[in-house]
């Protein structure tokens, strides 16, 4: 078995999931290589080496400065063949979910999305992935010759394991380009996305209105957290769609999830129940969120959150 890790990057910087996947490959003890696709990407040798990558191939073409799922997929499928890998490991990020299936199709590979556990079982992989928004976990096997696996961010934490990475740069043709990214519009400047964040502070209908969101943002800033929201808050137009956590929003598994004024409807829980620690602030002692919370305060959030901000500042 040989693993190829797709190194995801945005705006020249490698993304954390790449390092998490390197750590996972090392844990499995399976030989692995890293493939990078693009035009200019940071300091590959140093950054990938830091987590223990030894062999990196950088597939380069100036046109690949623009992300295009079809063009990238073609290059990636070639890379898998060229580097002789039988497992393609990617992040279950928006890129991984977009690119993975296309590459899989080109490789006639079966693909497992959003895996939370990947184990070695002899010559094979035993994979666990949540289904039904995490209400059950499925133990699956892929029987294709090549397998594509995307791993949920934050499940494996990246561990530094310094090594010397050899980086080969290969110029490649860039075919395809049927769909092309014209521009990236960031939400708020430098906003951390909920799926990647290690800490999330989420607000719900209990926040009463968008004018109170400075509380959520203030707390998030002090904790270095991303901000999330319940669907009720999103539907009311208080928060953008991409902040919605839940069954029909984002699925997150941060180390800490702070639910403020969120009741904990089953659809919301589906998106955040795999968080390592959950804190709930709600004035209703019966709110279902408390069933899941590790720590709860039953009180008015307009007292509690300002106090948290105050204490954290101190």
């Amino acid at each position: 078995m040989k693993i190829l890790i797709y190194a995801e990057h945005r705006e020249g910087a490698l993304r954390k999931i790449t390092f998490e996947n390197i750590t996972l490959a090392k844990q499995l003890g399976v030989p692995f290589e890293v493939a990078v696709i693009g035009s200019e990407v940071g300091n590959l040798q140093e950054e990938l080496g830091k987590y223990g990558a030894e062999k990196v191939v950088f597939y380069q073409n100036a046109d690949l400065a623009t992300y295009s799922p079809d063009a990238y997929a073609a290059v990636l499928a070639e890379a898998v063949k060229k580097q002789g890998a039988d497992v393609l490991l990617m992040g279950a990020t928006s890129t991984g979910k977009d690119l993975g299936p296309r590459a899989a199709s080109l490789l006639n590979a079966a693909m497992a999305t959003d895996c939370t556990k990947v184990e070695l079982d002899g010559d094979d992989l035993k994979i666990t992935r949540p289904m039904y928004a995490g209400k059950v976990l499925a133990n699956i096997r892929l029987s294709s010759a090549v397998k594509v696996v995307t791993v949920r961010p934050n499940v494996y934490s990246a561990a530094e394991a310094p090594a010397t990475a050899a980086v080969d740069t290969e110029s490649v043709d860039a075919p395809g380009f049927k769909a092309m990214v014209k521009e990236i519009v960031s939400g708020a400047q430098g906003k951390l996305d909920v799926t990647e964040a290690d800490i999330i502070v989420s607000g719900g209908r209990g926040m009463k209105g968008p004018e109170n969101w400075h509380l959520i943002e203030g707390l998030a800033e002090l904790l270095g957290a991303a901000t999330g929201a319940s669907r009720a808050a999103v539907d009311a137009g208080w928060r953008p769609h991409d902040e919605q956590v839940g069954q029909t929003g984002k699925t997150v598994s941060p180390s800490l999830y702070v639910a403020v004024g969120i009741s904990g409807a089953i659809q919301h829980l589906a998106g955040m129940s795999s968080s390592k620690y959950i804190v709930a602030i709600n004035k209703d002692p019966d709110a279902p969120i408390f069933k899941l919370a590790d720590y709860g305060i039953v009180a008015d959030l307009f007292d509690v959150v300002p106090r948290m901000i105050e204490e954290l500042k101190a």
């Binding site: 539907d235 209703d284 002692p285 019966d286 279902p288 069933k291």
Partner: protein, 578 residues
């Protein structure tokens, strides 16, 4: 047009005959309609989730802007309009299920929808002629016109025959001139189509002029119609309830509904029809409140245990489940009878209304109790459902009036048989006259049977209890008729007991039929909970029946009357402790 002289299960029961082919097997909705129904329910549920906030409606005493328009656009105003008039022609069963959903999600919205189509335009559907239907039903189905049912007046509530609104024929212009006022009219402030009951002078069969009630289709654009201010109510706060005044309203002759002088019968038959929707809406509310309360007791801990572990809490949960299960069995057995089209269901629908509204009132109250102080708080729905559900025992026939109706109409059959008192029974409370003037043909030539068909052995005991107590009820009724004679019409406490017994018996047979039919389909091993529910209900019910029947013969009625008269005479509670 409603048919006459149809067999009635309950009237048969009062007469000692069990028409078991009317109640077995338990009716089942056609698969295709079940599929449509599910889609309609899904559509409403989704819509409600986004647009109906019960607490807000209650606080603001109004619907959010556009809510009613959206309901119109989605088609929820045309449920009982036949398809040929651009409606959806739901069966009574599907219609009742829809109302169960409405009533669960928001009783206020349910009543707005119900006043429109359960009673507002129902008279037109049942008694209208082709032209009238063509003219109005499509607009009512689309909601272009909202409908109201105008019977009650300041001087005529339960005694609806006492209405004063007058319709005078103006032969020259071919119009009736309508004058009068109606109170507590649901949709009164928003409707443009009114089914109005009014008195007109007409010759009786001897040619003498008498006042009789006729029914009219009146639209706001006829002029002369004004609505009073919105009433402030205990519940159902989003719905419109106002007075409606008619001042020299010119109603064209062609807007007479049904025959001249037959208005009272129309009024009553419309209500007979509407009651199932109300019964369905009621239990829908209880189901929703139960769900809330169960979530609470599963997790609230006292004395280191969840509330659900305490026996008195279990008792409440079990009792409301048993009662709800039996009530639901009655309602959908009855809707099935309506859908057959060849059965008199007037008693059954009245019994469903009584039982459903009371089981819901009691059940919601118990849910409130189970959650403690929280149930008393405005942020929680318990108190709101309790308030919203209160009026169900008052309108569309108060439960007292419906009990009288059940007992008297039930016994009327027997009264006919015991000729002498038969005519007396037709007596002064006029309403019952029309509702009971059917003949006994359907009983004639029938081999009298007190037994019902065999049911699954698991239910055999319940079946025997039913047979035994149905027979006893028949004897009790007959004894009462013989002893009290025509005074039975004044002996309301006896009527009440017989009605209560009849309701329990009908609920028993409905539950037995439902579970027996289920067992046939799924096997007893897959119906163990339902069997338990059925047997528990039957056991509780026959004990209540026994008590009620015993008290027909042996009671404190005289003392009770005397005490009441004394107190009323004193005009207050006059006693002091020593």
């Amino acid at each position: 047009m409603a048919k006459e002289n149809l067999p009635s299960f309950s009237k048969g029961m009062f007469s000692g005959v069990i028409l078991d082919e009317l109640v077995f097997p338990y009716p089942k909705m056609k698969e295709e309609e079940a599929e449509d129904l599910k889609m309609m329910q899904d559509s409403f549920r989704k819509f409600a989730e986004d647009h109906i906030d019960g607490q807000k409606i209650d606080e603001e005493e109004k619907y959010p802007d556009g809510l009613i328009d959206q309901l119109k656009e989605l088609g929820f105003m045309g449920l009982s309009v036949p398809e040929e008039y651009d409606g959806f022609g739901l069966s009574a069963t599907a219609y009742t299920k829809m109302f169960e959903l409405f009533g669960g999600i928001n009783p206020s919205v349910a009543i707005t929808l119900g006043a429109h189509q359960s009673i507002g335009y129902k008279g037109l559907v049942l008694y209208g002629n082709e032209e009238q239907k063509k003219k109005y039903l499509p607009k009512l189905a689309s909601g272009e016109m909202l409908a109201a049912y105008c019977l009650t007046e300041p001087g005529a509530g339960s005694d609806a025959a006492g209405i004063k609104t007058k319709a005078v024929r103006d032969e020259e212009n071919g119009v009736y001139i309508l004058n009068g006022s109606k109170i507590w009219i649901t949709n009164g402030g928003v409707a443009d189509f009114f089914t109005v009951f009014a008195k007109e002078e007409m010759p009786d069969k001897d040619g003498k002029m008498t006042e009789k009630i006729s029914a009219f289709l009146v639209t706001r654009d006829m002029g002369g119609i004004t609505s009073g201010k919105e009433e402030h109510k205990l519940g159902l706060k989003g719905s419109s309830t106002t007075e409606v005044f008619f001042e020299d309203v010119k109603v064209p002759f062609e807007n007479l509904l049904g025959e001249r002088g037959k208005g009272f019968k129309i009024a009553m038959n419309v209500l007979n029809n509407g009651r199932l929707g109300l019964a369905g809406g009621s239990i829908g509310a209880l189901k929703v409140v139960m769900k809330e309360a169960i979530a609470h007791i599963r997790q609230r801990k006292q004395f280191r245990k969840t509330l659900s572990e305490f026996e008195m809490i279990k008792e409440k949960v079990a009792q409301m489940t048993v009662d709800l299960f039996a009530t639901e069995s009655m309602i959908y057995l009855t809707s099935g009878l309506v859908d057959r089209g060849d059965v008199d269901y007037s008693l059954e629908s009245a019994m469903c209304k009584i039982r459903a509204t009371e089981v819901t009132w009691h059940g919601v109250n118990e849910c409130l109790q189970m959650v403690g102080g929280l149930g008393f708080m405005k942020e929680y729905p318990y108190q709101r459902y309790l308030r919203d559900g209160r009026v169900n025992m008052i309108f569309e026939g108060t439960n007292e009036i419906l009990r009288m109706f059940t007992a008297l109409a039930g016994m009327h059959e027997r009264g006919q048989y015991l000729r002498k008192i038969g005519t007396a029974l037709k007596g002064p409370i006029k309403g019952f006259g029309v509702l009971t003037d059917y003949a006994t043909q359907w009983l004639k030539g029938r081999v009298s049977t007190e037994r019902i068909r065999d049911v699954h052995p698991e239910l055999a005991a319940a079946k025997v209890q039913f047979e035994t107590w149905a027979k006893n009820m028949h004897f009790s009724a007959e004894r009462a008729l013989i002893h009290v004679g025509k005074n039975i019409i004044y002996r309301e406490m006896i009527q009440e007991r017989l009605a209560n017994a009849a309701i329990d018996l009908y609920a028993m047979i409905a539950t037995i039929s439902r579970v027996d039919t289920m067992i046939t389909e799924k096997g007893a091993e897959n119906c163990s909970v339902e069997i338990k529910l059925c047997n528990t209900f039957a056991d509780q019910a026959w004990r209540r029946v026994r008590r009620n029947l015993l008290m027909v013969d042996s009671n404190n009625d005289r003392e009770m009357r005397e005490i009441a008269d004394f107190i009323v005479d004193q005009e207050k509670y006059p006693f002091e402790t020593i």
